[in-house]
Amino acid sequence: MSKHVFNKTNLFIALQYLSARKKQSFLATIGVLIGVTTFIVMINFMTGVNDFLDDAVFNGSPDIIVSAQAKENATKKSFSIAINTIENTGKIDSVLRKNQNVQSFAHQVISPAILISDTRQFPGSINGVFAAQESKMVDLERRLVQGEGFQSLSKENNILLGISLANRLQVSTGDHINMILPNGKNIQLKVSGIFSFGITTIDNVRTYVSANVLQNLLGENDIVTNVHIKLKNRDDVSLKTDVITVIDGVSTEDWKDSNKTIVIGNKVRDILTWSVSFALLLVAGFGIYNILNITVIHKRKDIAVLKTIGYSSNDIIFIFLIQSIIIGIIGAILGGVLGYAISYLISTTPLDTSDFIIVDTYPINFKFSYYILGFWFGVLTTIFSGYFPSKKASKVDPVTIIRGI
C-alpha cells in the first residue's frame, strides 16, 4: 500500500517543477555555489597560512626549552658575559626519557657571537648542536636552499646559516666567515649549508654549528646551555612544570609563550573562515527558503490536486524537499570545483615577500576533507531551508483549496 516516498514518480514531479522554474532554480543554485566556493577558498587559504606558520615555527623551534637560570655567582668565568650552563643534564635526560609525551630532545650550547664575512659583520646567537640529536628535532633537509644539513657539522668546522643572515653577510656555501666569541676567542668556519624556514625572525638570526666547536672555544668540554624538547602532543605542556619541580636551577618556556602572536593569529583566521562562510550559506539558505515558500503559496491548488489524485503528505514533502536538495547538491559540487579553481589560482599567485613571511606564492591547503565538509555544509543548508516550506506544502488541505475558488 504505502510505498517509500523516494521513488521515480516523485523525483520526476520534483524535476518537472525545477525545470519549469529554470531561472529561480538557477539563481538558488548560484547562491549555494557562492557560499560553498567562499567556504572552500577561505578555508583553503586560511588553513594554508595556519599550516604554513605552524610548520615553519613549530618545526623550526622546539615545543619546550629548558635553559639554565642565571647564577648569582658567575665570577668563575673569565669573560664578562657569563654563559649559564645546565649542571645536571643526566638527571634531565632521565626525566625526559621516562615521560610518555616526549617525542625527542636535544642538547644545545648557545652562545652569543659576532659573525664576520669579507664585507660585513653581524652579532648573532649561535646554536651549537649535536647533529644526531638535532636532526630528530628539526627537519632541516626540507628547508635547505644550498649545501648540506646537520650531517656536514660532524666533519670540519662548518656553519649553517639562515638565508636572510647569509644574504646580509653576502656569503654562500663554500665561503668562509669568522666567528668571535665574547671571551675573545675566534675561529674560521666554512658555510656548508643555507636554509630557509620562510619566517624572517628565524632566517635572520638562526645559525647552527657543531656543539663541540663552541665547547672547545669556551674551554669547557661537556657544557650544555639548553635542552630542547619536541612533544608528541603539543597541547599538553605539563612537562614544563614537571621539569622545574624535579631539577633545580633551570627555567622552562613552551611554544605558547614564544609564539603568542601566531597562536592568536591562527584563532582569528579560524573564526573569520567559519563566520564568513556561515553568513554566506545562511544567505543562500534564505534564498532557497524564499523561493520554495513562494512556490508553495503559488502552487497550493496544484498541491491540493496532487493530494486528491493520491499523493500523500509525505510524497508532497519529498517532492518539495528533493528540489532544494538537488539545488544544494548541484550548487555544492559546482562550488567545490570553482573553489578549487580559485584556490589553485591563488596558490600560483606570486606573493611579495613581506617582513614576516618569506614565500614565493600564497600558501594554500588543498586538503580533500575540506571539500567534503564544504559539500555537506551546502547540502545541509538547503535541506534545512527547504524543510519548512515542504512541511507547509504537505499541510495544504485539498478541500479548502478547491472550495475557496
Binding site: T9, A20, T308, G310, S312
Partner: protein
C-alpha cells in the same frame, strides 16, 4: 452497493457553529449516475467532499466498496482515494508543468501497479476516448477549457476507479461545451460501468441523470 452513507452530520465551527449537513443518508449502486443539485450554501459541495473522502471531519457512517472510511488512517485514505475514486473539478486543475499525457498518467504512476509503458498505453487510449488523442504532447495550459475538462476526465479514469466524483464539471464552460462534457461523462462511465456523483446547478444535467437529489439547507429533499 458502491457507496453507502448513513446519518451524515457535518458542522462548520467558523465563523460560528453551523450545521451544514443534517442527517443525510444516501446510497449509490454500481453504474448509477446521480446528480446533487441545490442552491449555493445548500450543502451539496460539502456532501460531495464527504462522499469523496476528502473531508473526514463528519459524524455518521460512510462505506465505499464496503470499506468503512473512518477506519482508514490518513495515509491509507490517500491511497484508497487514489485507487477507488476519480475526481473532476469545475476548474479542471491540470498541472501546468506537465503535458497532457503526463497529467493523465500521474495518478497511475502514484498507484504504481502497472509499468510506465502500460500506464502510457492506458493514458493514450483514454485520451483517444475523450477525443484528445491528438494533444498528448501539448503543455496542459495551452488547451481550451473544454479540452482541459476532457483531459481531466481521462485523468479521473486512469486508475479504473469504481466511483467518479464531479464537482460542477460544466460550471465553467459554455452551453455547447457543457453539453459535450456531460454527454462524454455519461457515455464513458456507462460503457465502463462506473458510478458517478455530480454536484451541479445545470438543470440539463440533473434532469438527464439516473437520479437527481435536491439539497435544501443541509437536508436531502425527499
Amino acid at each position: 452497493m458502491i457507496l453507502e452513507a448513513k446519518h451524515i452530520n457535518k458542522f462548520f465551527q467558523e465563523p460560528e457553529t453551523h450545521q451544514v449537513l443534517k442527517d443525510v443518508s444516501i446510497s449509490i449502486s454500481e453504474g448509477e449516475l446521480v446528480s446533487v443539485y441545490g442552491e449555493s450554501g445548500s450543502g451539496k459541495s460539502t456532501l460531495l467532499y464527504v462522499l469523496s473522502t476528502l473531508d473526514t471531519d463528519f459524524q455518521g457512517d460512510l462505506k465505499i466498496q464496503n470499506q468503512e472510511i473512518k477506519q482508514l488512517p490518513s495515509a491509507g485514505l490517500t491511497s484508497f482515494r487514489n485507487k477507488h475514486i476519480g475526481f473532476v473539478y469545475q476548474f479542471h486543475y491540470l498541472l501546468p508543468e506537465f503535458n497532457v499525457l503526463q497529467n493523465v498518467m500521474l495518478p497511475a504512476m502514484k498507484l504504481a501497479q502497472k509499468s510506465k509503458e502500460e500506464i502510457k498505453k492506458d493514458a493514450i487510449s483514454l485520451l483517444g476516448e475523450v477525443g484528445m488523442g491528438a494533444y498528448t504532447k501539448r503543455p496542459s495550459y495551452q488547451l481550451s477549457g473544454g479540452q482541459q475538462q476532457r483531459v481531466a476526465i481521462a485523468r479521473a479514469l486512469i486508475n479504473n476507479p469504481s466511483l467518479i466524483i464531479a464537482d460542477e464539471p460544466t460550471g465553467n464552460l459554455d452551453q455547447k461545451n457543457s453539453d459535450l462534457i456531460f454527454d462524454l461523462l455519461k457515455e464513458i462511465t456507462a460503457s465502463k460501468n462506473k458510478s458517478v456523483v455530480i454536484a451541479t446547478h445545470n438543470s440539463k444535467i440533473y434532469s438527464n441523470s439516473h437520479r437527481a437529489i435536491e439539497m435544501i439547507d443541509g437536508f436531502i429533499r425527499l
